[in-house]
């Protein structure tokens, strides 16, 4: 079976309108330095005739300045570069009406964030955090964001590049796609339970198992794409659906919050809504005490 | 006719060996690191008794590694006589056939391999000694022919500075050199002038500057952050039920968290009990960082040390009224003397153990590790040769109802030997057992004697969270066993305690619960610790204590 692992650029070609991808250019922003964040591919393309910002990983790039950044790892430069691409997108359509805010397509194939000493000294966490905030801002500004998992979507790197999208699609595991925090073998070692037991448990409870199907059952992936040739059409359809939802003011059906509801709907995360309701109810019962002007009570 | 006999065979043998080694030894007895293997091949013969210095703090690790590289056809079947075997190289010697027999005192991290090698016939065990016992045999029947020792610095003439961690060096060198043996020293650095001379160059045959400083581990550092509420409860019981009860002024503390807790509670709970000036005035112990608050509060007159402790150098040097300090201003430790004091002179030994049997015998031995006990048995026993008296020693002796059976109307004191344990250890392993694992170990490793750390007749007190068993007040084995059961909690041993019997023991003050002693369990919290973290210890020390990197969270 074919696979797109490590082929972010090929995926861009497969998804976008032919020869439409202009790498390094997003709105008014150009990324001229080829050595800056080489693991992140950003640019503008056309999708179904409309401009989209594309953000992908380059598994062949090696960041000379930060040796732990290679094979699609998102390092500090990569994270901030991706964030810059998002801010440039927001700026480009700042005056455009909601229906014309361009979509952002995230092509996901990343094994992790930069795991180095220099990264920790300077704060790798800020780079990935910055990118996520930028995506969330774009999402609330009205840009439809669709993520397409074509290869590896691993733990923190997936949080950073993928999980802030309005909707997430994934090629099926036949294509070698991996979505997980840790492979089941590692989880087995850490939680000290044998593989057989875990695999059996995973059938009824997908909460720790690896792979797009399990994520889908948890509402973590909106749709599984079973054919590489279907990616483009599926993304176009989802961009349309997301845009329609935003225009209808149904933002809460999208993004991480929307996927929460989807998880419950698909029977994967059923405790979450109960707990959310419990918290809301318990606060509602006492909220009056915390309103402006409420009598300031002393010790209970 | 009287047979002609030569009386200097030992010296002649040494001279012959040194002649063979001559080409490696330069001015000031200096040997290059690259020549050490050749040197060892020249001076060591098959079957020799060889000592590699190494104990808690100081390891002749480079020389051990070099010994491992000798040509086995030239050097083999050595009889190692040394305090400890904590390095992998120490056991590799046996694996490779360079060494054959071992007489030692402490196994440390290699204890598992010691047991395994005995079982596999790779290692012939002489005996597991106490330090003093082994040191004694250095001057009796286990004198090393060649000793590989360790010092901080040497000067250009070959004088040695053993400094802060003098430990075993004097005793090894004295035994070896004055029996015409050969002493080879590794030093971290060769300098023009030493701060002080600890070993004169005349007692040394060769000196090598090792490629890197010797391995040193902060074995006596306990992070106050890890002390639990139950350890604090035990410490409260100890302070009120034993320190205060007997006015114990001199003692050795083990290295466990219970004694760390006690040390950190002297300025708090101890102060409350008004023990300052009365208890803990004279101590035999390494420079435990957890002693800092009590020292700063003026509790301690004197501390003599077996060895040093990493990070405590500056602090100790700045407290010369308390520690034994050389004219150069740094600590002088000495295991042989500290052990002598620990054996004969102190009133109390208090420490932890892993297992206690129904008779009160205790051991840290597990079924598959031959660890040895170092100095614990010497301090954890009643020294029958003691002839000076102190309040604590006399009181403990006076309590013993069976004294009359032994010496009639005569007065005699007794060393307090205190074992503190929680009834269940990690993973709910019971501390009180029908049979010590030491017996299994004896069987597994083919030992002649089960390695008992402290024999039941030497133990005077057992402290658990249930209370204190005053074994010093027990006149018979029957009573002793009942007292042990009474503090053994929910272990199988403890469940055999009969409530009415325990009641009688409590009335007779042979068993005292926290309530009997007036120890408020609800106060057993970390709030009683004078320092709760490593940082607090540094603050107490006025910045003089410099904890090793792995203990610092700043």
């Amino acid at each position: 079976m074919e696979s797109l692992i490590g082929q972010g650029r090929t995926a861009i070609e497969l998804i976008c309108d032919p020869d439409s991808f202009a790498e390094g250019s997003v709105g008014a922003k150009t990324f001229a330095d080829p050595d800056f964040g080489p693991g992140a591919v950003v640019g503008t393309a056309k999708l179904d005739g409309k401009p989209v910002t594309v953000i992908a990983n380059d598994a062949d790039a090696f960041n000379e300045k930060f040796p732990v950044v290679y094979a699609g790892v998102i390092g500090m430069e990569e994270g901030y570069k991706m964030a810059q691409a998002v801010y440039a997108t927001i700026a480009a359509d700042a005056d455009a009406p909601k229906e014309n805010k361009r979509a952002i397509v995230l092509i996901v194939d990343t094994p992790g964030n930069g795991p180095g000493k220099v990264e920790e000294i300077f704060g790798m966490n800020k780079a990935t955090g910055a990118y996520q905030l930028a995506l969330a801002e774009a999402r609330y500004t009205g840009h439809p964001i669709v993520a397409m998992v074509i290869g590896r979507a691993i733990s923190g790197a997936f949080l950073c590049h993928g999980l802030q999208a309005d909707q997430i699609l994934s090629l099926d595991s036949d294509f070698g796609t991996m979505i997980h925090v840790m492979p089941l073998t590692s989880i087995s070692r850490i939680v000290k339970k044998d593989m057989e037991t875990l695999e059996k448990l995973a059938e009824s409870n997908p909460v720790f198992a690896a792979g797009p199907r399990f994520f889908s059952r948890l509402g973590g992936v909106e749709e599984i794409v079973t054919n590489i040739d279907d990616m483009r059409a599926t993304i176009i359809r989802h961009v349309g659906e997301v845009r329609a939802a935003k225009l209808a003011g149904k933002e809460d059906t999208l993004g991480p919050w929307g996927r929460g509801a989807l998880g419950a709907e698909r029977g994967g995360r059923v405790v979450r809504p109960e707990v959310l309701k419990l918290v809301a109810d318990e606060f509602a019962a006492v909220s009056g005490k915390y309103l402006p002007g409420a009598a300031l009570e002393g010790a209970a | 006719m009287k047979t002609q006999r030569t009386w200097d065979t030992l010296a002649a043998d040494t001279a012959e060996r040194m002649a063979a080694a001559d080409k490696f030894i330069g001015k000031g007895k200096r040997v290059e690191a690259k020549d050490v293997v050749g040197l060892l091949e020249a001076v060591i013969r098959p079957g020799d008794r060889v000592n590699i210095e190494g104990n808690n703090q100081k390891q002749a690790d480079f020389l051990a590694e070099c010994l491992l590289k000798v040509d086995k056809s030239k050097v083999h079947d050595l009889h190692m006589v040394q305090s400890a075997v904590p390095l992998a190289a120490h056991l590799d010697l046996f694996e490779q056939g360079i060494a054959k027999k071992l007489d030692f005192a402490f196994g440390g991290p290699q204890a598992g391999r010691v047991a395994k090698f005995i079982r596999e016939g790779k290692l012939e065990l002489g005996a597991i000694h106490t330090y003093l016992e082994l040191f004694g045999r250095y001057f009796l029947d286990l004198t090393p022919k060649v000793s590989l020792i360790c010092a901080y610095e040497a000067d250009r003439e070959g004088n040695l500075y053993t400094g802060f961690n003098t430990e075993d060096t004097p005793v090894i060198v004295e035994a070896t050199k004055f029996r015409q043996g050969i002493v080879i020293a590794q030093v971290n650095k060769i300098v023009d002038k030493l701060p002080r001379i600890d070993i004169p160059s005349g007692w040394i045959d060769a000196v090598v500057e090792s490629p890197k400083p010797f391995f040193i581990e902060p074995l006596f550092t306990r992070d106050p952050a890890l002390i639990t509420d139950n350890q604090i409860l035990l410490a409260m019981l100890a302070l009120k039920g034993i320190y205060a009860e007997y006015s114990v002024s001199s003692m050795n503390h083990g290295i466990g968290f219970l004694t760390s807790a006690i040390e950190l509670m002297l300025p708090t709970y101890g102060e409350e009990l008004k023990l300052k000036g009365k208890c803990c005035t004279h101590m035999i112990l390494n420079p435990h960082p957890t002693m800092i608050p009590a020292i700063e509060e003026g509790w301690v007159d004197t501390i003599h040390c077996f060895g040093g402790e990493l990070g405590m150098e500056k602090y100790v040097a700045a407290r010369p009224d308390v520690f034994f300090i050389g004219p150069d201003g740094t600590l002088r430790s000495n295991r042989a003397f500290a052990q002598t004091a620990g054996h004969y002179a102190v009133d109390m030994f208090i420490g932890g153990t892993l297992q206690i049997d129904p008779y009160g015998n205790s051991s840290t031995a597990t079924a598959n590790r031959v660890a040895g006990f170092g100095g614990a048995p010497n301090m954890g026993c009643d020294p029958k040769g003691r002839r000076h008296s102190t309040e604590a020693w006399l009181k403990c002796g006076q309590e013993l109802p069976s004294m009359y059976e032994q010496i009639g109307q005569m007065q005699r004191g007794k060393r307090l030997v205190v074992q503190g344990v929680e009834t269940f250890g990690e993973g709910r392993e019971p501390a009180f057992v029908e049979e010590l694992d030491a017996l299994k170990l004896a069987k597994n490793a083919g030992l002649e004697l089960p390695p008992v750390m402290i024999y039941g007749d030497d133990v005077t007190h057992i402290i658990t969270e249930e209370g204190i068993a005053y074994l010093s007040r027990c006149g018979s084995m029957e009573t002793r066993m009942a007292a042990i059961r009474a503090v053994a909690g929910y272990t199988e041993i403890g469940l055999k305690a009969k409530p009415e019997e325990t009641r009688r023991l409590r009335d007779a003050k042979i068993v005292m619960t926290p309530e009997d002693l007036g120890v408020d369990r609800d106060r057993a919290s970390r709030d009683l610790l004078a320092a709760k973290s490593m940082k607090d210890l540094v603050t107490w020390s006025g910045g003089l204590y410099e904890p090793p990197a792995r203990f610092r969270n700043w």
């Binding site: 801010y87 704060g123 948890l218 109960e274 707990v275 | -």
Partner: protein, 318 residues
């Protein structure tokens, strides 16, 4: 739990999650959400036969400092390292959402409310991120928290408090970075990749994870203060954190944006100057950056008492 007044003098590091939560807000004002009496343990731990906790290792609720409603989230490191699962994650998300909804309600019903009467969120982090026993749910919860943060922007200030044993790592490392303000003690640690993983990746010679001093000077409070990743460095007491939080509660809401390290194009550009510096300096040790920032004697500075450190340290200027 000890009396409120005695909680305050306690070490924040040594306190547990609930003591921190209760001590941060005014006496008697804390109401817990989904607390132990709700018995919402993790069903996922249960099926794996792992020990459970009634609050799933996270204390959430609301209290007040002066007139300010303070929504508190406090992670418990002693329970499975403070890792985030489905229940705990939902408690976190639900609490931030409650704060945002409450702010909306106040804006609507009390248009003249003063800033200090509007809610803030305080999160005491003590976690390595995702709980592996329920990894997927934990991961998705992280994304939801980030989403709520964006919703809270400009409306409800979110304040990170980091002074616990476990520190704040993994996904929660960037969650904390994304808040408006970061307050740390010198014992707090903030980062992404835990020390063991760095060692695994770079080798023991480059990074020895057993070297606590190295670990702390790479991600600890003092270093993060030098780097500007933490806004305020406080003493390791509950009162120390509470005092800083009280100050922030009084701050006009419009002034929080200026405290952020990330969250806008401008801030990203500023951070990129730091990245360029990292590439240029290639520091072998965090201390190299301290020296670069204008601290010629980083070792004594690291040992100095916190107040003196704050006074004398030069922070990295970008």
């Amino acid at each position: 739990m000890s009396k409120w007044s005695t909680l305050l003098s306690r070490s924040f590091l040594e306190s547990n999650a609930r003591e921190r939560a209760v001590g941060l807000v005014d006496e008697g004002t804390f109401t817990e959400f989904a607390g132990p009496f709700d018995r919402r343990t993790s069903p996922h731990l249960e099926v794996l036969g792992e020990a459970v906790e009634f609050d799933d290792g996270i204390v959430t609720g609301v209290g007040r400092i002066g007139k300010t409603p303070v929504f508190v989230i406090s992670q418990e490191g002693r329970f499975i390292g403070g890792a985030v699962g489905e229940v705990g994650g939902a408690k976190m998300v639900g609490t931030i959402k409650a704060a945002i909804d409450f702010a909306d309600r106040i804006a609507k019903d009390f248009p003249n409310a003063a800033d200090e009467e509007k809610p803030i969120v305080a999160i005491s982090f003590e976690t390595g991120g995702v709980r592996l026993h329920e990894a997927n749910a934990g991961l998705l919860a992280h994304a939801e928290v980030m989403d709520q943060f964006q919703r809270a922007r400009g409306k409800v200030p979110v304040i990170s408090l980091i002074g616990s044993k476990v520190g704040c790592f993994g996904g929660m490392g960037f969650v904390a970075a994304a808040t408006d303000v970061v307050v740390m003690s010198e014992f707090g640690r903030l980062g992404l990749t835990g020390p063991e993983v760095i060692e695994q990746e770079m080798g023991k010679d480059e990074f020895d994870s057993a070297d606590r001093a190295l670990v702390y000077r790479t991600t600890g409070g003092r270093h993060k203060y030098v780097m500007g990743d933490c806004n305020f460095l406080v003493e390791d007491t509950v009162a120390g954190f509470r005092a800083q939080l009280s100050e922030l509660a009084k701050l006009p809401r419009s002034e929080f944006e200026a405290l952020r390290r990330i969250g806008s194009e401008k801030l990203v550009e500023k951070q990129l100057e730091g990245v360029a510096l990292a590439a240029e300096l290639q520091p072998k040790d965090a201390r190299d950056v301290w020296v670069h920032a204008g601290n010629p004697d980083p070792v004594s500075l690291a040992m100095a008492p916190v107040p003196q450190f704050r006074e004398t340290v030069k922070r990295l200027a970008l």
